[in-house]
């Protein structure tokens, strides 16, 4: 049996006619930049995240850059984030001229509030927790620390659309949040797209201008901004896909439960945190002999992946920051144990069962 890690094709085939018709309609409208579909997307995101404002941008990386630029963060400032993430979490901080500072993580793979407090300096301006895998970071203590030290909180919610922590939706807890609609995300475009959410009116206004050349009207530009817009075609596709999102998350959560039922005594499986609703963009187990297990699964047709084998602080791109091996012991240890099992919504019980069998077989 082949168990694919991603299967975007199956998501598409089911709704092929609807999606192609949607693109055709956008073309007929002639409104390919901004316009009604983009407005609808932003309203939809306000609802999905419980935020007052949503601002669509070109991708999740740009979302982080625009948030931090709009908050006035730049050279000389420090922003604290996690090292076990996609590179954008840290690179976005570097790109605006600020310095990424890494805090270690807990066993749930999210940033540790305790570790954050240890790396705060008088240059720290913001904390950027990453809701990795579709699980919210432990926001209550993070928000308290931020308040205590007068810091901004930027949620990197790229993987966590619809995830909840104590009835708070991801993207509604900090000063602003970034979402990615990259093709591999739970809610995904047919290309790059991203969303910023915030409930701060002034910040929202600034970010709206920044993503579109600082343009107030056709002939007035108040500051030099970027071109970072979600294509209307992509917005229209996402607007159609939003109605399937509950189903996507339900399937992923069911698959997660099937894995836990079978594997809980063999490997460490992720569980929903207390009061949390996780959306399982990734299902990351912690396994002994990880590399051998991955190779074995590969040989049996099961595609597993590692998110991420090298923590960001050890990339060549981060060498200028002066981190070395041993600086983030938990992050580094977990990088050697984590394995993402296939969890996508197109998988059913028989495939999950097959993966579990193979893992059992490996450890027998």
């Amino acid at each position: 049996m082949e168990v694919k890690y991603v299967d975007i094709g199956s998501q598409y085939t089911e709704h092929r006619d609807e999606y192609l018709k949607t693109i055709d309609e956008v073309l007929s409208s002639g409104q390919l930049i901004m316009g009604a579909e983009v407005d609808t997307l932003e309203r939809n995101f306000c609802e999905l995240t419980g935020s007052k404002h949503a601002i669509s941008v070109a991708n999740g990386t740009d979302a982080l850059v625009i948030i931090m630029k709009s908050l006035g963060i730049g050279p000389g400032d420090e922003v604290i984030t996690a090292s076990n993430s996609f590179i954008s979490s840290a690179s976005s901080i570097g790109l605006i001229g600020a310095t990424p500072v890494f805090a270690d993580i807990d066993d749930d793979l999210n940033i540790s509030a305790e570790a954050i407090e240890k790396v705060i300096t008088n240059k720290t301006k913001a904390i950027m927790p990453v809701h990795l895998t579709g699980k919210c970071a432990d926001m209550t203590p993070i928000l308290e620390i931020a308040k205590k030290h007068g810091l901004k909180v930027i949620e990197d919610a790229a993987q966590s659309i619809m995830a909840k922590s104590n009835d708070w939706l991801s993207g509604s807890m900090g000063d602003a949040a970034s979402f990615s609609l990259h093709p591999l995300k739970n809610l995904n475009a047919f290309g790059d797209a991203g969303i910023i959410t915030t409930s701060d009116d002034q910040l929202a206004e600034k970010m709206r201008l920044m993503r579109n050349h600082g343009q107030v009207s056709r002939d007035d530009f108040v500051f030099w901004g970027f071109n970072s817009r979600t294509d209307a075609v992509q917005a229209a596709i996402i607007n159609k896909k939003i109605k399937y999102l509950d189903g996507v998350i339900k399937n992923r959560r069911e698959n997660a439960q099937l894995y836990r039922n079978r594997l809980k005594d063999i490997v460490k499986c992720p569980v929903d945190g207390e009061g949390c609703f996780d959306t399982y963009h990734l299902f990351v187990i912690q396994a002994k002999k990880r590399d051998e297990l991955k190779a074995f699964l590969d040989s049996t047709g099961v595609q597993a992946q590692i998110h991420y084998p090298t923590p960001i602080h050890l990339y060549k791109a981060a060498s200028y920051l002066g981190y070395k091996k041993g600086d983030l012991p938990n992050t580094e240890r977990l990088a050697g144990e984590i394995l993402s099992l296939p969890i996508h919504q197109g998988l059913g019980p028989s495939q999950i069962e097959y993966v579990c069998e193979k893992i059992e077989q490996f450890y027998k």
Binding site: L20, D24, S91, D192, V222
Partner: protein, 367 residues
């Protein structure tokens, strides 16, 4: 009669062949870079006549990433023109460099004779804008660049298929930045851009700059951007690039009809110089006219979607406040901003719409 500025519903009245190919990509989920983007990049570099083309997120990003690839940033100055779309200046600012404007010539683009006076010890780069598809006089510009050891980034966002002195726009400087915005001569179904260069080192740097500095899935050379030309949009580009010659020819044909009619209205309308060594591609057809605002309103009433590019030059925008410019610094650009107007000139017009525009302009001036 209506003479619309936008023609997108007409252009994409039958998207079926493109949609079919997009459907194939969606089926396999191949949405990010990959062979289809490469195919478009190859078609683009062949069409432009340069060695390398790199697909990016927008024309703005094409200019911005060009500056980054050339190592231009904080403390550096980049010289461009005061009458251009805001993105030219925004790209310089985003790269962290300082914007220096120079005035425009009779053809509404950079007056190269005023360039040298704007150069300081901090100047690192010249960014000529082939605005509206009107090429900048590149030979003297290149001589100045060589003399002062400056880089040249051509803002060719409006100028696909344009030529000057036998050279193709976008192949003359260190890099050229193109926009594929829906209203450009070569357009896609959203935002996109292309950088052209003949330099392999710059190409390799740009490929990293547009994609997170990613060498492979687990190795990143430096912190960089996400600015990719979507794979589905590359498919659109592959289909439409075949039409560019026709698009340019149609626009030139309509522009020549306008020129010939309006040359009889020289009391009211000033046609820019049209030297024979240029291929102007008329992304916009722009003129200087008397009583511009009245003419503009009149044409709009008559169903002709005329536009003004732009009523306020960049150095007088609020965004320029920190740069220290004031009214009077660029008298030609400021004067042109008061008289400039653009008429619809796109390839989907018919002769009757062009004639109607001419008739209404004549009617306005009672000529």
């Amino acid at each position: 009669m209506k003479v619309p500025y936008s023609y997108l519903p007409q252009q994409f009245a039958d998207p079926a062949p493109i949609l079919e190919e997009i459907a194939e990509v969606i089926k396999v989920g191949d949405f990010t870079l990959g062979p289809r983007v490469e195919k478009f990049e190859n078609l683009f570099s062949d069409f432009i006549g340069c060695k390398h083309a790199i697909g990016v997120g927008s024309g703005t990003d094409a200019l911005f990433l060009s500056l980054k690839a050339l190592g231009i940033g904080a403390g550096d100055e980049v010289i461009t023109t005061a009458n251009t779309f805001v993105a030219t200046a925004g790209a310089i600012e985003t790269a962290g460099a300082r914007i220096r404007f120079v005035d425009c010539a009779d053809n509404y683009v950079m007056d190269v004779s005023k360039l040298e006076a704007a150069i300081t010890e901090n100047t690192k780069c010249i960014m000529p804008v082939h605005y509206s598809g009107q090429p900048v006089d590149m030979d003297p510009l290149l001589k100045i660049a060589q003399k002062h050891n400056l880089k040249v980034v051509e803002d060719a966002c409006c100028a696909i298929d344009a030529e000057v002195g036998g050279k193709r726009c976008g192949t003359i400087g260190d890099t050229g930045g193109f926009s594929l915005h829906p209203l450009k001569n070569l357009n896609i179904w959203g935002d996109g851009g292309v950088i052209t260069t003949n330099n392999e080192e710059i190409r390799d740097k740009l490929r990293l700059l547009r994609n997170h500095g990613m060498v492979n899935r687990d190795e990143y050379a430096f912190y960089a951007y996400n600015s990719r030309l979507d794979t589905v949009q590359s498919i659109v580009g592959c289909h439409l690039i075949k039409d560019v010659k026709w698009i340019t020819d149609m626009r030139i044909k309509f522009a020549e009809s306008f020129d010939s009619a309006f040359s009889q209205l020289s009391d009211f309308i000033k046609i820019p110089p049209r030297p024979a060594n240029e291929r102007r591609v008329y992304h916009m057809y722009m003129l200087l006219v008397e009583r511009r605002d009245e003419l503009h309103s009149f044409l709009l009433e008559q169903g002709i979607d005329a536009k003004v590019h732009y009523p306020i030059p960049l150095h007088l925008q609020q965004a320029s406040e920190g740069l220290g410019y004031k009214m009077g610094d660029f008298p030609v650009a400021e004067k042109q901003a008061k008289n400039i107007i653009s008429f619809p000139v796109h390839q989907h017009l018919i002769d009757e719409q062009v004639q109607y525009t001419i008739d209404k302009v004549k009617e306005f001036y009672k000529a």
